[in-house]
Symmetry: C2
């Protein structure tokens, strides 16, 4: 950040009065520009004993596999965001179920929130951000070609809970960037 | 938003190629400026049969009561943010427990996430954002003087679950601004 989005003047990084951390503050109008974590919403869409995965058509991690997920938009609920991302990336309609995983990706300033979901029909396809989309059993999951650690955490918990007949939620923190 | 925070040129609101909603786009460098929901983190700190509440010293809703809560910062987990807010607003140290409430405040572009928490000692005080802080039984809660609907939802669920011996989590959506 170099300029104030309100008045266009240069900003400086400093700790405002009564604050504890540096913020970008406008040198002209004094506006404080806060930067806060972004929410990424996703789901594990289930159809019979299979789940729906997407192979990414965009960077980062083009060509690798992921559960449908993306940035939450203003005006949505978490559940709306998770369902919309599935529609966009996998052209698939889901009913969002219980909370599955919350991954604090602190180094990236993101929180990934993942739900269980039920595919309403075995109908899907590759959205513009996907190279291919398919239904896979647990044994068929491309575990070594998953795009993101949060997705692997989510899928591991999903299958472990399903085997155990549980419907739990799981928090974790991923503190370091993964070297690909 | 009027100016690009990267290069300082004017922005316009338009739907970028491949997108569905209007964004602020720089007329010079083309950067797209996304606006996404903010996370507010809080907790219900418990000590014996009482819970800790703060009376707000700042707007909005100065003079009204709230659970300790505030905006999550970059680099924190949700749990860290909830504990830090309690330290700042109530000068109280808590151990964060289970997930209690997720309130999608869609009109305000916020998601409020609330945890149960255990006060480590009956020690607390008014932080700079609080007029007073105290421990209250369920019967003593100032229900008609609570600052925010998300706080009331959180407290109602907390006491209902405690009475029933449950440890559930609760999602809800608050779709309209409340007229105070």
């Amino acid at each position: 950040m170099n300029f104030c989005s309100h008045c266009g003047s240069p900003v400086v990084s400093k700790i405002p009065d009564g604050d504890q951390v540096p913020r970008f503050v406008c040198t002209n109008c004094g506006l404080i520009h806060y930067k806060n974590p972004l929410l990424v919403l996703g789901c594990v869409p289930e159809w019979e004993d299979k789940i729906l995965l997407c192979r990414r058509a965009i960077e980062p991690r083009r060509g690798y596999w992921t559960v449908p997920a993306g940035f939450m938009e203003n005006g949505e609920t978490m559940q709306h965001a998770a369902a919309r991302e599935c529609q966009e990336e996998a052209l698939a309609t889901v009913e969002i179920g219980s909370l599955l995983a919350v991954v604090n990706v602190t180094h990236a300033h993101q929180v990934h929130v993942m739900f269980r979901a039920r595919l309403l029909a075995p109908q899907f396809g590759a959205g513009t951000e996907s190279l291919e989309v398919g239904l896979y059993t647990e044994a068929e999951i491309p575990w070594t070609d998953l795009a993101f650690p949060s997705g692997e955490f989510t899928l591991r918990k999903f299958f472990a809970d399903r085997s155990a007949g549980r419907d739990d939620y799981h928090f974790t923190e991923l503190t370091r960037p993964i070297k690909y």
